[in-house]
């Protein structure tokens, strides 16, 4: 047998250890496959050739269409052999070759014969092969046999038919759905695996029928499920039922006892599944959580890495919503920091960072420092992000956390890692005023030795905005000007712009900046020289100390008030002609991301870099969007924009959410709409708002959306007038109205005629919290004392019976819409009293501080003392009124 080529992977010198596939080559094996055509078949030889073919396929080798067809036809001849081992190989080979529809006919009759054979194992395998290669028409012919097979006495035959059903459900759902009676019977099978497969298939068949799933779960949770795998499925389906019934049933949570019972199952898989299901329950209480956390804690010290990983991964998630529930596990978690498995160690650290209290921060940072040096960048990024959140939670600790960030910034690392650190420092500078100056200096030091042009330019831009506002802007100039000497042209140009910003903002620095900018006129790069010239001319004067005019500041600092994407498109479409390009012709409407991209992960706060290209999310972007709409241009300054609230359920035809924009005398509802039906184009989309339950509001304007194609979100707006400066509240019901046009999916063209239609949306409410901005203070006591007691108002309230102290605290925080300070929103387990500190800015830009003291009065009754300090006593009274009427 000729084997001319030697496969590199298997090239070994060692005689004793040589591979049976040494020198295997596709062409030669295909030649060998001719033995399948021999009149006297040699089963052993044929099996060997099939093994070689499988080896090639398993190495990622592919056959051309002609090769595959040839092998397939040859393999079908092997059905003549009665050799059992060979027959088993033939089944695998046909599945691997997945022949085309016209070739399938050749084997259909052989397989049908096997499927009705008396030998069970022929039946099972023939079912699997047929279902793999079949199409709809053939399936209707064999459906009768498959239904019989599902309830076959032999568990292997039943499982083969059931797993086939799971696959076929994707391609031929209407046929498989007809089998539900048989599948239902199989769920009761005594064979563990049959029950597992049947349960999976039955649930898939009925997944859209809520009642049927509920019934399935109710009956199975009472009986005994044999295999742990099936038990895990049942737990998953149960939590789905709990999720869906949460809104309709009052009192004890249904099925909780079943989940809790599973925590005592003998299989670890089931215990873990139940523990995770409990931790993921909506609004889970600490009483419900406790048993689940206890078993997860035991898993933390398991000798099996898989269990440790599973436990710490789940606890990490719990820590996001119930940090106090996880604190009991902190000691076990700390020992995992040195776990061999880096995934486990990273998860342990990030969990500890989420659950740690202010006093443990320093100790934790020490442990992490040792750990950081021996993990990969991707894990480091996770840790950096956790440290950022920790710092925002405990602003008083900014010094040690910022130091940590600056230390790791100096160490080796790739771009993504460095970017994560820089982004974190930027966010801390923005959110913690006290951290600003040290943070800026850390960034300055970083650009002295930064290998990433992108980061250097972004930091220089940021310095240009923040640097001039500091107490001593002077000290940053040296770092910036060094860049002009030492860096590439891109960074040099950015440095020139930053210098100009300092010159414009700090009049005393202007003469010296002029000197520096003049030096840049001799740079060897066009862009750098052009910028220097431009700034020298716009800043005006001859370099003496003069005040920079507002126009120049606007030119240097003002941002382009049109979306860059739109500008880019307009410029691309512009054809050079006599008529010059008119920037006013660029559309200002922000086109939001298509649906597919929106699903991509990325809810991280943005630090440096371009703002997200998607829908405007920050107040700035909203403000720009609203001011570009003439109807709303005279509403004045935007006070607050709420987070988007969904007005439709998930996976409906049209997805709509609303953002409430609060102005002094107006409220604008921005409805973000997405059309999820490819065959429809919506036009003239408006929301008809009924404000009969919002007496103080009067509709003044509505801006329809001209066109809403599939998968390309758009916005429509409705504006209301309300009494100026008054925090009016009310309920609004909404109806989406539009003209719907059919779209031909093949051409993408819409029909000319459309039909008017409506779609009911959920209600929305304007509440007191909408008039409050969440603005934190880093040192509450200082802020409280400096505010003084002049406008203080104190009163006591009974909150009645509550589920827990924590629940009461959260309810009051949500009611007021204020920022909890110093981590006081977290209530320790089993505590009977708690103090929570809140800070915010009320409409009219009035600073407000709130001190809430809670106590348990009797077993469940919660009493609260509310002390409010603000700059205006009317506002202090208003806060009390919100609580009294809430």
């Amino acid at each position: 047998m000729a084997q001319p080529l030697v496969k590199k992977d298997d090239d070994r010198d060692d005689e004793a250890d040589y591979s049976p596939f040494l020198g295997i080559e596709k062409g030669a094996v295909l030649q060998e496959a001719r033995v399948f055509n021999d009149p006297q078949l040699d089963p052993r030889r044929c099996s060997q050739v099939i093994t070689k073919l499988l080896y090639l396929l398993n190495q990622g080798e592919t056959f051309t269409k002609v090769e595959a067809t040839e092998v397939f036809f040859a393999v079908t001849k092997l059905f003549q052999s009665k050799d059992i081992g060979l027959r088993r190989m033939v089944y695998v080979m046909i599945k691997e070759l997945s022949p085309s529809a016209d070739e399938v006919i050749i084997v259909t009759s052989s397989l049908m014969k096997d499927m009705t054979s008396k030998t069970d194992m022929y039946r099972a395998n023939a079912i699997r092969v047929l279902c793999r290669i079949t199409d709809g028409t053939l399936l209707t012919q064999i459906e009768r046999y498959l239904k019989q097979a599902i309830v076959d006495k032999n568990p292997v035959v039943a499982s083969a038919a059931l797993v086939s059903g799971i696959h076929l459900l994707q391609t031929n759902p209407e046929i498989v759905k007809r089998w539900s009676n048989e599948v239902q019977e199989a769920v009761q099978s005594r064979a563990a695996l049959v029950q597992f497969h049947a349960l999976a298939l039955l649930h898939q068949i009925r997944q859209n029928d809520r009642l049927a799933v509920n019934k399935l779960v109710s009956s199975l949770t009472k009986g005994s499920v044999r295999s742990p795998l099936a038990q895990c499925l049942l737990i998953r389906y149960t939590s789905q039922v709990i999720r869906e019934s949460a809104n309709t049933q009052a009192g004890d949570r249904p099925f909780y006892d079943f989940l809790e019972g599973c925590l005592r199952h003998k299989a670890e898989m089931v215990i873990f599944e139940a523990a995770r299901a409990i931790t993921e329950l909506n609004g889970v209480t600490s009483r419900e959580l406790t048993p689940a956390i206890t078993v997860l804690q035991l898993f933390l010290s398991s000798s099996k890495p898989v269990l440790r990983f599973a436990a710490v991964r789940t606890l990490n998630k719990v820590a996001m919503t119930h940090p106090m529930a996880v604190t009991n596990c902190n000691i076990d978690m700390e020992s995992l920091i040195s776990d061999q498995n880096r995934s486990i160690a990273t998860l342990a650290i990030t969990t500890l960072l989420k659950t740690g209290n202010e006093s443990s921060v320093d100790r934790l940072m020490k442990q992490i420092t040792n750990f950081m040096s021996d993990i990969a960048d991707e894990f480091k990024i996770v840790v950096v992000e956790a440290i950022r959140s920790l710092c925002l939670k405990f602003p008083l600790k900014h010094r040690s956390l910022m130091n940590f960030l600056s230390n790791i910034l100096r160490e080796e690392g790739g771009f993504e890692y460095k970017k994560a650190i820089v982004d974190s420092i930027v966010i801390l500078i923005r959110d913690i005023p006290e951290a600003k100056e040290t943070g800026l200096l850390h960034l300055c030091e970083f650009i002295e030795d930064c290998e990433f042009t992108y980061l250097s330019t972004q930091i220089l831009h940021f310095l240009g905005i923040e640097g001039p506002k500091t107490s001593d802007p002077n000290k940053y100039i040296r770092y910036i000007y060094n860049r002009v000497h030492l860096e590439n042209a891109t960074v040099r140009a950015a440095a020139v712009s930053t210098l100009a910003k300092f010159g414009a903002m700090v009049d005393t620095l202007k003469p010296r900046i002029f000197v520096l900018l003049r030096r840049c006129l001799f740079d060897n790069d066009d862009e750098v020289r052009d910028r220097a010239t431009l700034y020298l001319n716009t800043l005006g004067g001859d370099g003496t100390v003069v005040q920079t005019s507002d126009d120049v500041k606007e030119f240097l600092f003002g941002s382009l008030d049109i979306p860059l994407v739109n500008l880019e498109n307009s410029l691309k479409n512009y054809e050079p002609s006599e008529e010059s390009f008119d920037i006013n012709s660029v559309p200002r409407e922000v086109k939001t991301k298509p649906l597919a991209e929106k699903k991509a992960p990325g809810k991280k706060p943005t630090g440096l870099g371009a703002p997200p290209a998607g829908p405007p999310s920050t107040v700035d972007a909203y403000e720009k969007l609203l001011s570009s709409i003439p109807e709303f241009a005279n509403f004045g300054k935007l006070f607050k924009s709420s987070a988007p609230a969904e007005l439709t359920e998930a996976e409906t035809e049209y997805a709509v959410n609303v953002v409430k924009h609060i102005f002094d005398g107006h409220v604008v509802f921005q409805y973000n709409c997405t059309n999820t039906i490819p065959e429809q184009l919506l036009e003239n989309v408006t929301v008809i708002v009924d404000a009969s339950e919002a007496e103080e509001f009067a509709e003044v304007a509505s801006k329809p959306l001209r066109s809403l194609p599939y998968d390309s979100p758009g916005q429509t707006f409705v504006a209301f007038e309300k009494p100026e400066g008054i925090p009016a509240v009310g309920k609004f019901s909404n109806m989406l109205r539009f003209i719907v046009k059919e779209v031909d999916p093949s051409t993408g063209e819409a029909e000319d005629d459309g039909v008017e239609d409506e779609y009911q949306l959920e209600e929305l409410e304007v509440v007191a919290a909408d008039y409050m901005l969440k603005v934190g203070v880093s040192n509450f006591r200082n802020a409280w004392e400096s505010m003084g007691a002049d406008c203080e108002r104190v009163d006591e309230y009974g909150l009645g019976p509550r589920e827990s102290l924590a629940e009461a605290v959260n309810a009051v925080i949500d009611l007021l819409g204020m920022q909890p300070c110093e981590g006081t929103e977290v209530v320790p387990n089993n505590s009977r009293s708690h103090t929570c500190l809140l800070s915010g800015v009320y409409i009219g830009n009035i600073k407000v501080l709130v001190r809430l003291q809670f106590g348990l009065d009797g077993p469940k009754d919660v009493a609260m003392k509310l002390a409010v300090r603000s700059e205006d006593e009317a506002v202090s009274d208003a806060i009390h009124e919100i609580v009294a009427s809430g």
Partner: protein, 147 residues
């Protein structure tokens, strides 16, 4: 869905790779990712001691069995614990086929039977059989004993 099952020798050369629902263009990426993961972590690991990792929303459980390393990749219902079950079935069945912990040579000698074994364990991304004795009978086209 069980996205991939992969066997490699001690030098990181692929012995078996089977993907389910993974686009062809991503397979190479997975192959090198897994081999790298093994090279970094499997040194000194005891036979059949399970290691675990996650990459985005995908879980990976892997281990050493004699001279070969085994990787299973899954998502959704096939999370780390379900995959631990899958890899346990795979390793015990492979040991059963080889009669002991496999050397690379032994693994390749039994290649055909191992392919059949895997075919019984995982079918297009779903776990089908879990018991090694039953699997041994099934690859010989014999009905399970309990039947």
């Amino acid at each position: 869905m069980i996205l991939a099952v992969l066997f490699a020798n001690s030098e990181g050369n692929i012995l078996v790779e089977r993907f389910n629902g993974v686009p062809t263009e991503e397979r190479l990426h997975w192959r090198s990712f897994l081999v790298k993961l093994g090279a970094e972590n499997l040194k000194g690991v005891k036979n059949e001691e399970l290691l675990v990792a996650s990459h985005k929303s995908v879980y990976i459980v892997y281990t050493v069995l004699g001279d070969v390393s085994v990787y299973v990749v899954g998502k959704d219902e096939y999370d780390e614990l379900a995959l631990a079950e899958v890899i346990f079935v795979i390793t015990s069945a492979v040991k059963d086929v080889c009669g002991k912990l496999p050397t690379e040579r032994l693994f390749l000698d039994k290649y055909g039977r191992i392919c059949l074994t895997l075919d019984e364990i995982i079918w297009q991304g779903y776990l089908e059989n879990t018991d090694k004795d039953r699997i041994r009978r099934l690859v010989r086209l014999k009905p399970p004993t309990e039947f």
